[in-house]
């Protein structure tokens, strides 16, 4: 993802802004990192350059 995407994305749960924590970046693209809701604290991974903003209950890794 490009950093300017931060201007429009938000937490899917409460629609508050997100903080970006970059783990790796190539050219102008954030390849891996974490997005954290500034209000509820929920974290969302950036996977292979694509922010995964699925609500936690829709993630595959959610324990059964």
């Amino acid at each position: 993802m490009k950093r300017d995407l931060m201007d429009i994305i938000c937490c899917p749960l409460d629609k508050h802004d997100l903080d970006l924590d970059v783990e790796s970046e190539e050219d102008d693209e954030v390849v891996a990192g974490t997005l954290t809701c500034t209000d509820c604290g929920e974290t969302y991974p950036i996977e292979d350059g694509i922010p995964n903003l699925l609500p936690p209950d829709m993630r595959e890794e959610t324990p059964a």
Binding site: M1, K2, L5, I8, I9, C10, C11, P12, L13, K15, D17, E47, D48, G49, I50, P51, N52, L53, L54, P55, M58, E60
Partner: protein, 219 residues
Amino acid sequence: MPETPTPTPTGDPAPHRVYDRIAAHFSETRAHPWPDVADFVAERTGRRGLDLGCGNGRHAELLADVCETAVGVDASAGLLAEARARAAEREYADALALLRGDAERIPLRDDTVNLAVYVATLHHLPSREARVRSLTDLARVLAPGGEALVSVWSTTHDRFGPDTGFDTTVEWTLPDGTTENRYYHIYDPAEFRADLDDSALDVVEAYESRGNAYAVVTS
């Protein structure tokens, strides 16, 4: 016991996981945009476009042509990978941002979208309440004056009889012969209109075309 002819949804209750499993084959069969969507986009422009339920991005490409930037949102990682590859091949990747997200809880801020398409996706959401909530969330992200085209599979499609809306599963057959079931709510046009009216969207125009019900909406 009375007969109950209404098909009961079976299979994976999460369509996005089904799409993960069929993504590559599904994408091969979705090379071209729908003419009705192309017509809608061609008459409009906007700063930022949104393709909600973008699949392989064939309609996001249209938005990337007429908007400064386009955002494609899908719940399936497999389809997003197809969308990224397609954008690179066809050279619109610079104008397209991809996001994994749920159409019922859109991860975009209020009033950020000037032109949107929400094509053949709403009918995968598992309840009427979820579908109305999704339409209301689309209204939230649409900027004042922004317009969206929403489409669903309709009972007027020639594979269904004229009927009231119903829940069903539609099989996808992979090249190796295995099948995957996808949940659909098939809408009758009046019911589609009622769901739109119960959401925060305003309907500008509603019509039927090629077995789909369409609505042009604003926030």
